[in-house]
Assembly symmetry: D3
Homo-oligomer: 334 residues x 6
C-alpha cells in the first residue's frame, strides 16, 4: 500500500440548493475540499494510506474540516491549528450556458498564515512514497510557498515520487512574487507533470498550440528543460457546457504519445474537483498500471467524478475499472 502525502489548503464550499442564487435561499449546502485534499481523499478511497498536511482554523469550523478528512480515511495527525478563519468560498451553480459563480474568502485564512518550520516534514515524510502538490499552494502566500518548498526538497531528496499540477490561477497571486519563477523552481523537485499546453507555455514562456503535435512538442521541451520530470499527463475537455461535458486524456511518457477515447457526461452532477479526480486517478494508475491503462483509469475517474456530489471523488477502484472496460450502461447494482 502506497503512502501518499498531500499538502494544501482545505476550504469550505457553501452553495445554495440546486441552481438557486444566494439571494433566493435560506440555507447553504457545504462541503470541505481543496485541490490537494481532494486528491488525497480519492487516493484514500482507492486504498492508499494518505496523510494530508494543512493548517485549519482553531475553531468549530476547523474541527469540522478535520472530522471530514478523518471520515475520508485521511491521516490528520499533521494538521496544524491556527488562530485565523478557515478559507471558504460561495458557489452559485450554473447550468447549460450559465456559468457557476464563485466568491472567495480566503486571503487571510489559517492556511495563508502557515510558515516554514511549522510542519515537521521529516516526520511527515517517514515511509512516504508519493507527494502531490499543485500551483494553488504557492499562490496563496509566501509562507505557503516556502513551506511547500521545504517539504518538496526533503521529499525529492528521499526519492519520493512527486506529482506536480502547477496550475496557474492568476487571481490568487497577490503577495508580490513572480508566479512563473516560483512554479519553475518548485518543478525542479517533481517527477511527473500534470498539465497541458497552457501550463507548459506558462512555465516555459513558450506558445505551443493545443493540438496533438503542439502537445507533443511542448511536452518534449518541458522534459528536456526539467530532466527530473519523466512524464507529462494532460486532460482535454471537448466543448461542453455547465451541464454536459466530453473528456479525454493524453500523455507523453518520454517515448510515446498516448491518448484515450472521449467519455461523454451528458448530465453533470458536480463539476468541482473533476481535475483532482483525474490527478488521483493518474497517481493510482502510475502505482498499479502501465501508462496507457493509467490514462484510461484517470480519464474514467474524472468522468465519474462529474456524477458525484461534493469535492471528492467517492467512487471505488472497481467502479473506475468498470468504465475503463466499457461498462457505461449505468445499470443498477444489486
Amino acid at each position: 500500500m502506497s503512502k501518499t502525502i498531500t499538502f494544501g489548503e482545505v476550504l469550505m464550499r457553501l452553495s445554495p440548493e440546486g441552481y438557486k442564487k444566494i439571494s433566493q435561499s435560506s440555507t447553504l449546502e457545504f462541503y470541505f475540499g481543496g485541490t490537494e485534499m481532494n486528491v488525497g481523499a480519492s487516493l484514500a478511497n482507492f486504498g492508499n494510506e494518505v496523510k494530508h498536511v494543512t493548517c485549519v482554523s482553531d475553531d468549530i469550523v476547523g474541527q469540522a474540516a478535520t472530522s471530514t478528512m478523518k471520515r475520508y480515511g485521511i491521516d490528520t495527525s499533521a494538521v496544524i491549528r491556527h488562530q485565523a478563519p478557515l478559507g471558504l468560498y460561495f458557489l452559485e451553480v450554473g447550468a447549460v450556458m450559465r456559468s457557476s459563480t464563485i466568491a472567495y474568502n480566503r486571503a487571510h485564512s489559517a492556511f495563508a498564515g502557515i510558515e516554514p518550520g511549522m510542519v515537521n516534514w521529516e516526520e511527515v515524510l517517514e515511509d512516504a512514497d508519493w507527494f502531490h502538490w499543485t500551483g494553488i499552494t504557492p499562490a496563496i502566500s509566501e509562507g505557503a510557498w516556502k513551506t511547500l518548498e521545504e517539504g518538496l526538497k526533503k521529499a525529492f531528496e528521499k526519492g519520493v515520487h512527486i506529482t506536480a499540477d502547477p496550475t496557474y490561477r492568476k487571481d490568487l497571486w497577490n503577495y508580490g512574487q513572480d508566479a512563473r519563477s516560483i512554479l519553475s523552481g518548485l518543478l525542479r523537485y517533481s517527477t511527473v507533470f500534470i498539465g497541458g499546453v497552457n501550463e507548459i507555455n506558462e512555465i516555459l514562456g513558450t506558445s505551443y498550440t493545443g493540438d496533438r503535435e503542439g502537445f507533443i512538442e511542448a511536452a518534449k521541451t518541458l522534459l528536456k528543460e526539467y530532466p527530473n520530470l519523466a512524464k507529462v499527463f494532460d486532460k482535454v475537455r471537448n466543448g461542453g457546457n455547465a451541464s454536459a461535458q466530453k473528456i479525454s486524456a493524453r500523455a507523453w511518457n518520454g517515448k510515446d504519445y498516448l491518448e484515450t477515447e472521449a467519455l461523454e457526461v451528458a448530465h453533470v452532477v458536480d463539476r468541482i474537483g473533476t481535475g483532482d479526480a483525474y490527478a488521483a486517478g493518474l497517481i493510482y494508475g502510475l502505482q498499479h498500471y502501465d501508462d496507457q491503462k493509467t490514462i484510461a483509469f484517470a480519464n474514467a475517474a474524472c468522468a465519474l467524478k462529474h456524477t458525484i456530489e461534493g469535492d471528492v471523488n467517492l467512487v471505488s477502484v472497481a467502479e473506475v475499472i468498470d468504465v475503463v472496460e466499457g461498462n457505461i450502461s449505468g445499470r443498477i447494482k444489486r
Copy 2:
C-alpha cells in the same frame, strides 16, 4: 436610467420539490411571481427603476409578496392592500414528455377586486418612460381591465413607451366580455407588440401561418391596423419538451425582418417566466441597442431564464451579453 411601470397580479406559486406530486410531499416550495412583475423584476435587476402597481391581500401572504418585490429592488409604494386572498397556484413540475400541471386559485383574489380609481395613475406615471402590460390582466376581472385601461390611456397621452404582450389565455376570461374586442381596444394605447402569429390572428381574426412569410405578413397587417404600433417581436420554440428547449427570436420592425440563431437549453431548470424574461430582455434592448442586438439580447435572456429557479430572471446584463457574444461554455467564474 429608465423608469418602468408594470401593472398586474402577483401570484404565489406552490410546488413540491423536484418532480414530485403534491400527494407525495409534505412541503411545498414557493415563489411570488406574475407575468408583469416578473418583467419588472428582471428590468430592476438590469438596472431600471421599476414600480410595480398591483393589489395584494392585507395579510401575512400579501406582506411576504411585497417583501419579495422589495427584495428584487421594485418600488412598492403603489401596491394596494385589499381584504381578499392573494391569488395562487399549485404546480407539479413535469419532465421530458410529462407536462407540468397547474391548479389555479385566483378567481376571487385581491387583484381581481381592483377597481378604477384605486390607483393614482397620475402619481404612478410621474417621470415614467416605459409601461408594460399583458393580456392576462384584462382577463382577470372587469375591474382589472378598466384599471389597466385607465393607466394605459394616461401613459399613452404622456408619450410613454408601451409594450403590449396581449397573450390570450382562454380559461381566464370569465366575466362575460369579449376578449378580442377588449384586447384590441387596449392595443390602441401601445407602441410595441410582443407576440407572434397566434396572437396576431387572435386579435385580427386572421389566419396567417407560423412560418417566416406568414409572420412577416401578419406583422405588416397588424402595423397597418394599429398605426400606433411600431414593431412586432416574436419568440419561437423549436420542438423540445419539458426538459429541453431550443429557442430563437424574430422581429418585424416595420422595415426589416430580423431573426437570431437558436439557443439550445438541453437541461431546463425552470420553464416558468421564460416568456417574461424575453419581454424584459426586449425592453432593455429597446432602451439600449439596435433591433438586431435587441432580439439577440432578448433571446439570450430567455435562454438563461430556463437555467434559473423561480419566476424571475435573476441574471445580470453582463451574463446576457456573454451569451449574446457566443460564450456558452458555462465555465466557472471565479
Copy 3:
C-alpha cells in the same frame, strides 16, 4: 365496530418551518385538516369505521386531500369533487406570548359551493351509528348549512348518536343569516353537546359564568331547552401560552358533575386540532366507557394531541389509556 359519519370542509394548512414567518421562508410545510375530518381521522385511528362527507376541488390539490383521508383510513367514497379551489389557510406559528397568525383563503372554496341534494345521505348513513358536526360548517355558506341540516334530519330520524360541537366563529358567518338561530335549529337534531359556558351562552342568549357553578347551571338550562340533548362536555384551558398548556375536562351528564385533573403540556408541539382530539376522545369514550372515564380519555387524548404534528391526533387508544392511568413519564417504548 362503530361506524361514524363526519361532514365538513377539508382545508390545506400551509406554514413555514418552525417559528419562521412566510417572508423568511422559501418552503411551506402542509397538512390537510378540518375540524370534522380531524375528528373522523382520530376515530379511524382508534378503530372506528369512518366515512367523511365533503366536497373538494377537482384538481391535484383535491386529489392530494383525498389521498390523505385514505391514508388515515377514512372511507372517501362520499367525497364530492367540484370546480372550485380547495379552501386553505396560511399559519405562522407563534411561541410563548407571541400568537400564531392565520390567513384564510376559503370564502369561495369547493366546499362552500356544496348544495342540498349533492350528498346521497340515505346511502351515506346506511349502517351508521354516529354523526359528528360542528358550528364551522353552517357558517361557511348557505349551501353548507342546508346540506348539513339535510343530513342531520335523516340521521336523527334513524336514531344515530349525534355529537354537536356548535363553536361560534364570528368571522366566518358572511352569508347574511343569523348564526344563533341556525345553530339552535341544528342543535335540535343532536344528542350530545360539546362545548362550555361560552357556547351555551351564545346559543341561549344567557350569561352564565365560567366557574363550576356557572357551568352546571348553564348545562342544566341547555338540557331543559333541548331535551334531545343528554349530556354536556366541556374542556378547560388553565392559563398557558403558545408554548405551554394546562388542560382539564368537565361534564354534566344530566345527573352528575364530573371533572378530571389537569394535565400539563409544558412543551406544545402543535396546538391545531387539540379540540378535535378532545371531541374524538369523547366519542370514543362514549362508545366504550362510562362518563368519568370518557372525560379522562378525552382530556388525555387532547393533551397528547399537543405533542403531535399536524391536524390529526395520531395516537393510539393504548397511548391514551396509558396517560389516563397516570403514566406520563414519557419513557422510550422499545
Copy 4:
C-alpha cells in the same frame, strides 16, 4: 371496473438526496414499493379496484407501509401483520455511467415469514378478475413460494386472468430450491407472459437470441410448452445509461408480432419501478384495448414512469394516452 389482486413483498426504499452517497448524508428519503404492489398501485390509479396481499411488520414501519397503500387507493384488508421487520433496501442513485447501488435487508423480513394458510385466498379472490405475480415472490422464501402457489391455483381454477412476470433474480434464491422448476411450475397457472428472450431462455433452458426473429421463435416455443399462456409481452431498452433511456415494446400474441416505436427519456428522474409501470400498463391495456394499443399504452406508461419520483407510476390514463397519441412536447397544462 376490474378487480385486481396483487401479491408480494412491500419494501421500504431509503436513499440519500439526489446523487449523494449515504456517507455524505444525514437524511434519507424513503418510499414504500415492491414490484407487485407497484403494479397494483398503478392500476388503482388507472381506476382498477385493487387488493394487495402481503405481510408487513407489526410495528410503526408496517403501519406506515399500510398507510401508503391506502393512500394509493389499494384495499389493505388482506394485509397480514407479523412479528418481524419490514424488508428494506438502501439505494445510492447513480448518474450517467455510474450505476446505482443497492444494499438489501430483506432476508428475514415479515414477508419472508409468510406461510401457506395465512392468506384466506377464497375471500381474497372473491369477484377478482385479474391476478398478477412476479418471479421475485417465490425467490424470497419457501413460505412465499407455497403461498403464491396456493393463491395461483385457486385463481386459475376460477378463470381469473393471470399475468406472470417471472423475472429471475439470482441473488434472491437462497432457500435451496431450484428456481427454474419452481418458476416453470407457477407458470402453469398463468395466462399472459411478461418477459423477453432472457426470461424465456431461463424457463425453457433454451438460448434464443434477442433480435426480432429470436423473440418470435422463443415466444412461439413458450406458448407451445405452456398452452395456458396466450400472449408474450416484452419491453426493450436500447442502450442508454443511468440518466437517459430509450425504450420500446414488442409482443407475440399467438398470431402476430407487434412492436412500438421507441420513446426517448433523455432525463431520467427515477428508474425504479419502470418495469412495473410497463406491467400495469399492459394489464390496463389488455382490459381495454387491442394488442397493438396495449403495447403502445404499456410503453408510454413505462416511459412516463421514468419522470416520476418513487416506486409507483402516478400518471393518469389521460396522461398515458396523450403520449400514445404523440403529444410529447411536455407543455404546461393549466
Copy 5:
C-alpha cells in the same frame, strides 16, 4: 414618520439546523444581521423610514445582503461595495446549560476596510431625525471608528437624536487603540445612553454595583459627565439559560427611576438580536410614548424577539402593544 440612520457592519450568520454541530451537518441556515442593521430593520418594520449605511462585499454575498436589507424595507442607497469579503460568523446553537458557540470571520471584511470620506454623510443625513450607533463599530477598525465619528459629528450638529449603545466587546478591539477613550469620545455626540452599570463602569472607570441603587448612581454620574446625554436605559436578564429567559427593563431619565415587570420567555426560539430588539423598541418608544411606556414597549419587543427566528425582530407594533397590555396568552389570531 421618523427617518432613522443606522451605521454598522452587516454579517452573514451561518448555523446548523436545530441544535446540531457543524460536524454533524451538511447544510447551514443563514441570516444577514448586524446589531445596527437589526435595529434599523425592526424600526422599518415599526414604520420608520430607515437608511442603513454600511460597506458590503462586491460579490454574490454582498448582493444577497443588500437584497435582504431591501426586503426589510431598508433604504440601501447608501450601501457601499468593496473588494473584500462580507464578514461572517458560524453559530452552533446551545440549549439549556450548553452555551452557543460562535466562530468569527470578520477581521478583514469589506466593512473593516471602510475609510472616512467614503460615506457622503451630508446626503445621508438629509431629513434624518434619528441616528443609532453601537460600540461594535469603532471596535472593528480605525477606518470604521473614524467614519462613525465623521457621521456622528455631523448628526450632532444637525440636532438629530442620537442613541448610543456603547457595548464593549473586548475581543474585537485589535487595531491598537484604547477602547475607553474612543467610546468616551463618541459618547460626546449622543443624546440617549443604552446600557447598564457594566457599560457605565467601563466608560467612566467606576465600579458601581448592579442593583437598583447602583444603577441610579451610575446613571446620575454618567449624565453629569456627559451633559449631552439626557437618559439612560438598561435591560436586565434575571438568571435563565440558553433555553429560557426572564427579562425586564429599567431607566433613569434624569429625574425618575422607572422599571417594568419581568417577562418570562420559557421557550427561547432565537436569542441573537434580542438586545437590538430592545434598542429598536426604545427608539420607537421615545418617538411615540412617555418614558414608562417606552421601557414597557422596549421590554416587550425584546421578549417577543426571543420567539422570532433570525437576527431581526419581525413583530409589529400591534403585537408589541398586545404584550405591553398584558395579553400574553399567545392565542391563535385568525
Copy 6:
C-alpha cells in the same frame, strides 16, 4: 493519553423530523450509534485514543457506519465486515407524556453473526488500558457473548481497567440462554460496576430498594460477591418526562457514599445516548479525577448530552467542566 477499547454493535437509527411519525414523513434523519460505540466516541472526543471493535455489513451502509466512526476519531482498524445487514432501528420521538417508540431490525444483523476467533484480541488489546462493555452485547447472540467473553478474559489478565454496564434488556435475549448467569459470569472480568439497584438486584437475585440506604447495601453486597469490582456508579432520574429531565449521580466506592446535586434539563433535545454519556464521563473522570469530581463530571456530561442531537455526546471536556463548576447560564461563547 489512555487507550480505550470498546466492543459492541453499531446501529443505524432512523427517525422522522421533529416529532413526526413515519406515516407523516417522506424523509428520515439518521445517525449511527450503539451504546459502546457512543461511549468510545465521547472518550475520543475527550482525548482518549479509542479503538472500537465491531462487525458491520459489507455494503454501503457498513461503509457509512465506518466513516462515521472515523469522523469521531475512533480507530476502525479492528472493524470486521460481514455479509449481513447492519442492525438498525426506527425511532418516532415523543414529547412530554408521549413516549418515543422504537422498532428494531437487528436480530439477523452483521454483528449478531460475530463468532469467537474473528477478533484478534491480542492485537486489539496491545497497549490498551481500558475496556468498556455493556449488557447489550451478550444479549444479541451466542457468538456476541462468546466473543465478548474472549476479549474480557484477555483484558482482565492484562490488568486493563474494565467498566461493566450490565444493563438487562429483556427483549433482546432470544437465543435461549440465561441472561443472569451470563452477565454474572462476565462481571467476574470487570473492575468497575456502572448501574443501580435494579441492575444489582437483577444480577444478585436480591430486592434492594432504590433509596440511598438500599443503594449502599446493594453496592456493598455486590462488591463482596465480586471482589474484582472496586466501585459502583449509579445515575438517578428524578421524575421528568420526554421533554424535561432532572438527573443526579451517586456512587459507592467501597468506602464512602458520594452523590451530586441534581441538574435540570428543562428542554430535552435528544434523550438517546444519555446513559452512554454518563459512562464516558465516568471513565474519563476515573482516569483524571477523584471519585467525587468523577461523578460530578459524569452527571454534567450526561446532562449536556440531553442538549446534543444524535447518539454521541459531542461536548468537550471544557464544556463539561464548566457545568461542573456551576456555569449553567448557557451564555453565548464568542
